[in-house]
């Protein structure tokens, strides 16, 4: 399997996932079911993680087919623009959904009567609707690339996709050409995000694994939003690097492995934010965490360290 294949395999997931999540959210609002609402949030958060490799593999797919006579580069550019906007909207939806899950997992009096935040639900709903529209455009323009049978004659290019393509060009200009200091500053921010993420998540992990047993687990979980803030900083700065110099990264096997590591580690982080793992909160001072918790904590620590190591080695994996 190569990257274009991966792109085709994964790219339907964010579209289907967005509509599934949206359906669940509407159902949750109608039935006032907290369980369905959490399920909807989990779907959105997972989709936000899963769409990262979808976006990144797109450049490789474009590279592979752009020399084919039946493929027009303008159609690919339009798709890339729509994809950027859909990606951004889905990431915001995912972050809001994560905040919703966080609220559920933190509520001391969790019960069927628990009233979750309406503001978060509305935020998720609005951004999910925007995402649904944008993934539809991204999917349509993507389909146009290789399926000339579905292209309608004389159809105007999507204005949304054109806007996205302009944004893409703007970001690339800002990161690479605007000033020689933009890239270094983004790198510094990427390291600060790394420190926030590893400092908080690994401390919680170490406690669950059995170090620093004097500390209770529940308050350590309150540090997690800072780690998630670090992750958000790094996803944003990381994507700016990628958009700035895509061909430094696309065919870079070390970068590909780093992304795989991030997807796995971020999924474990999501696990920490779901209410099903609230029972770990009962692990007080000098208590032993359950074996499954220790396994997750150990995996998370190893994965984040591997991600840092691979990140540092990216220049060595770049194609010549």
């Amino acid at each position: 399997m190569n990257l274009p294949h991966l792109h085709l395999l994964l790219n339907h997931w964010p579209i289907i996932g967005t509509f599934v999540g949206l359906g669940l959210l509407v159902l949750a609002i109608i039935t006032r079911s907290n369980d369905i609402r959490q399920a909807s949030y989990v779907v959105f958060a997972l989709m936000a993680v899963a769409t990262i490799p979808v976006y990144l593999s797109g450049n490789a797919a474009a590279e592979k087919i752009k020399k084919m006579p039946e493929v027009a580069m303008t159609v690919i550019d339009t798709h890339e623009g729509a994809a950027l906007l859909a990606f951004a909207a889905l990431e915001i939806t995912g972050v809001l959904a994560l905040m919703g899950l966080w609220q559920f997992s933190r509520s001391k009096d969790y019960s069927p009567q628990f009233q979750p935040s309406t503001g978060i639900a509305m935020g998720v709903l609005i951004f999910a609707l925007a995402t649904a529209g944008l993934v539809a455009v991204a999917g349509n323009t993507g389909g146009d690339i290789r399926h000339s049978e579905i292209v309608e004659k004389g159809a105007a290019a999507s204005s949304v996709a054109t806007m996205g393509a302009n944004w893409l060009a703007g970001i690339r200009y800002f990161v690479v050409d605007y000033s020689r200091w933009v890239w270094p500053v983004l790198e510094a921010m990427h390291f600060i995000g790394l420190i926030l993420l590893l400092g908080t998540v690994c401390l919680l992990n170490l406690r669950i694994m059995g170090f620093y047993k004097v500390l209770p687990v529940a308050p350590l979980q309150n540090l997690l939003p800072w780690g998630i803030a670090g992750l958000i900083i790094n996803v944003i700065t990381g994507f700016m690097f990628f958009i700035g110099m895509p061909f430094f990264y696309v065919d870079n096997w070390i970068f590909q492995m780093k992304i795989a590591g991030i997807v796995l580690a971020a999924a474990l982080l999501l696990l920490y934010c779901t209410a099903s793992f609230r029972k770990w909160d009962w692990v007080g001072p000098n208590d032993d965490a359950p074996g499954l918790a220790k396994f997750v904590a150990f995996s998370s620590t190893v994965l984040w360290i591997v991600v840092v190591v691979l990140g540092r080695y990216i220049p060595l994996g770049a194609p010549n």
Binding site: P184, I195, P219, P315
Partner: protein
């Protein structure tokens, strides 16, 4: 300003060549992980003293100084190796001195914080937070500056090795 000739002597030594040839990226990676330990553990202490995670007991966080010192010595050893590899590149860069000063300030802030907040086991948590507040803010500022100036080293050097 003239570049001292002994930088060239260092660069021609066996250990300097070894650093540049082989383990350079490995040392750089260890330097990044050491940074995560040193600054990550410091940041957790600082944030807690500034009021984050208010039900996390403060006194046991004293044990994080183990991580801080382990990270610090990892940085000293890996940093010295990198310095032996590229003495001219580092010492001719003004930013390098800023970085060293900020790290020194960061460490001094953490040591003072330990003395002021963690030395008296009977101190109440509100007292710990009140006494540690300004040092915690300063420490965050110093670490932010140290990490930024450190990352800038890759973009601000004039010479990569002794100019012939």
């Amino acid at each position: 300003m003239e570049i001292p000739h002994f930088f060239q002597t260092i660069e021609e030594s066996g250990i300097s060549n070894w650093v540049r040839d082989n383990p350079f990226w490995a040392i750089l990676t260890i330097h990044a992980l050491g940074m995560a330990m040193l600054v990550g553990a410091s940041t957790v202490i600082d944030l807690r003293l500034l009021g984050i995670a208010p039900n996390l007991p403060i006194a046991p966080l004293r044990r994080l100084y183990g991580v801080i010192w382990a990270g610090f010595w990892i940085q000293v050893v890996s940093g010295l190796l990198l310095l032996i590899g590229y003495p001219t590149k580092s010492f001719t860069n003004f930013d390098f001195y800023i970085k060293l000063i900020l790290i020194a300030f960061g460490m001094v802030a953490m040591v003072m914080l330990k003395k002021r907040v963690f030395s008296d086991p009977n101190m109440s948590e509100p007292d710990m937070m009140a006494k540690g507040r300004s040092l915690a803010i300063w420490s965050l500022v110093f670490w932010l500056g140290a990490v930024t100036s450190a990352r800038m080293l890759a973009y601000t050097y004039t010479y990569i090795s002794y100019p012939y």
